[in-house]
Symmetry: C2
Subunit: 360 residues, 2 copies
């Protein structure tokens, strides 16, 4: 059927027939410029452009701030390709929320007034004190507004080095996160991440509230994702957290801020590649901490892709991002045939690597 | 019943029971700094702050960029008071779209990437060539996204000197607009507006497309309102144009850009004060140019207001703005009692003039 339910009982009828809106939150953390920590860019400095280019590509079919579709250093394309094709085939409307992208994307987007680029968490506090609470409240108002008109609010993200700051947030909130997080790399640079994160959490004194913890060790994005999700839940929408292990950091923030949020209205939806890499860790985390939510993954593979770039996903590169797995899940649950979706992604990859201009 | 239908047959059931979202578009034109042309600020230069302060007040219950609720030079408060109480009592979610506010409002808002402050139309072209088409397309994508999840998209506006640029846009598009437009002043400074507008339209050569006409004689806001409206109509939503004579400029742009837009899905909704001042002109315009739309006004009066500031509305000051009439109509149509709404506005006025902090 194109997706698999691995925990809980998501309300697939509501997903299939409700009104849906997708939200992609973008942000930057200077942590992504630490050499070797993130593959979400052709070189470390390019990771600062990736969130803006990702959402410009979603909107226009081509990035405009730079005319380059984001890739890894070896040329593997952004998962935003999966997202864009899923949105188009399912005719799902989407909005972008800027929580602190290094580059302002040249598209209509919701700017949170407290948006800030996160600082390098290995050397200094991530955000000016008080920022996380404001970002949370601003994002929450957007989630509430969207959740008031939509039945389903999907939240995806793009922040290079996001698995590192997610690890840091989880640790800061008291979870044993060292082995939980995945990576856009085939060989997860866990030792490097651990060194960075250890320096960050050393600044915590213990007893800080979740907003302060995020100010010290986090980034602008995960707290904003948590805000949108809790705002949408308050408006009684169903929330799809479209992402992998980073969404565990968002979940942990949600729980720390609002202990009794309605777990049965939350679905964590990711890709098969994340599930292969960290499926057990995700399900274990959920069972222990947020057992009421559902976990699904999209079972689309690229083994037969005509291009090396997409086949590399099967080898464990990239894996997830820009809500790819969750948006594909939404599309399939709403009637898009999984084979058609895959074919659409292959064609789209061909289009962008040929550099053909989009008409959208 | 709190509102009156003066033209057409609006689908009140849909208004009453559908899902609604309100959008307030803000923008500035340097035209508002011409002395005497706009009362939407305590002095000409203050008009540049008014759009940001209006929407900050909507969001937080108090303006934050400056701690001053916008008033006319004689202290009559912004109609955003009516808007805020209507939104709160009807629990209507809202978003702000920034099309070119001189001040960036310190709230979460949708920024159009081509946002630009409009220039003084009496001395130079309003916008860099090409801006209007881009603003329109960007706004249209937002309208489409919101119209895809909501049944009703209400569009209001805040742009000082907006009646002047509306007159200019209408003239530029070939309408005899000199006597159509209303004013925030009791004594509409029509001669001054006419002089300004004549200088603007003199730059037209004839035969320009509507985007170019707006680049030359318009402002960033009305074209963005037209974009949101047409985008929402494309998604089959019902559109409430919440405003007075300025919305005729938006309608004229809509018609010039998309001749066959679905008029039966459009309602122009304003206040009794605008209707008193320019009701005949509005209905005549609609009958002649967009006969398929409906026109309604909110029949709430402030004769018995405890404060001079609100009673001044009955004398013809301010009259409309920030979607006041349309938002009140939406609230009443969705079940808010008109007397309760009026009482709420009186209490809110008391709160803000006392300077009591809001818990929003």
């Amino acid at each position: 059927m194109g997706f698999r339910i691995v925990h809980g009982s998501p309300d697939i009828d509501r997903i299939a027939y409700g009104r849906a809106v997708a939200v992609y939150v973008i942000g930057s953390t200077m942590t992504s410029t630490i050499p070797g920590i993130s593959l979400a860019g052709s070189m470390p400095i390019a990771t600062l452009f990736t969130p803006a280019l990702d959402v410009e590509y979603l909107f226009y079919g081509r990035p405009v701030s730079l005319d380059i579709v984001p890739t890894t250093p070896t040329g593997i394309p952004t998962p935003a390709i999966i997202t864009r094709v899923s949105l188009q085939l399912s005719k799902t409307p989407f909005l972008v929320v800027n929580a602190g992208s290094y580059i302002e994307p040249a598209i209509p987007r919701i700017d949170l007034p407290s948006k800030t680029v996160g600082r390098r968490i290995d050397v200094e506090d991530a955000l000016p004190r008080g920022t996380s609470r404001r970002l949370f409240e601003e994002a929450s108002s957007i989630g509430y507004a969207l959740g008031s008109v939509a039945d389903i609010v999907l939240v995806g993200e793009s922040i290079p080095a996001g698995t590192t700051t997610a690890m840091s947030i989880l640790l800061g909130l008291g979870y044993n996160a060292y082995s939980i997080v995945s990576s856009s790399s085939k060989d997860n640079p866990l030792e490097l991440k651990r060194r960075v994160v250890e320096k960050a959490v050393r600044r915590l004194r213990g007893g800080e509230d979740p907003f302060t913890i995020n100010d010290i060790v986090g980034d602008p994005l995960h707290i904003s994702v948590a805000g949108i999700a809790l705002g949408a839940l308050r408006a009684e929408a169903l929330v799809v957290l479209a992402g992998g292990t980073q969404m565990l950091a968002a979940l942990a923030l949600m729980k720390a801020i609002e202990q009794l949020f309605k777990q049965s209205n939350v679905i964590l939806a990711t890709t098969r590649w994340i599930y292969r890499d960290r499926g057990r860790e995700i399900v274990d985390f959920v069972k222990e901490n947020t057992p009421g939510i559902a976990v699904v993954y999209t079972d689309i593979g690229f083994e037969d892709a005509p291009s090396d770039g997409l086949r590399a996903y099967e080898e464990g590169y990239v894996k997830e991002g820009v809500g790819a797995g969750g948006t594909a899940f939404l599309a399939i649950a709403r009637g898009v045939d999984a084979a058609t979706l895959k074919k659409g992604i292959y064609l789209e990859y061909e289009r962008i690597t040929r550099g053909v201009a989009s008409d959208s």
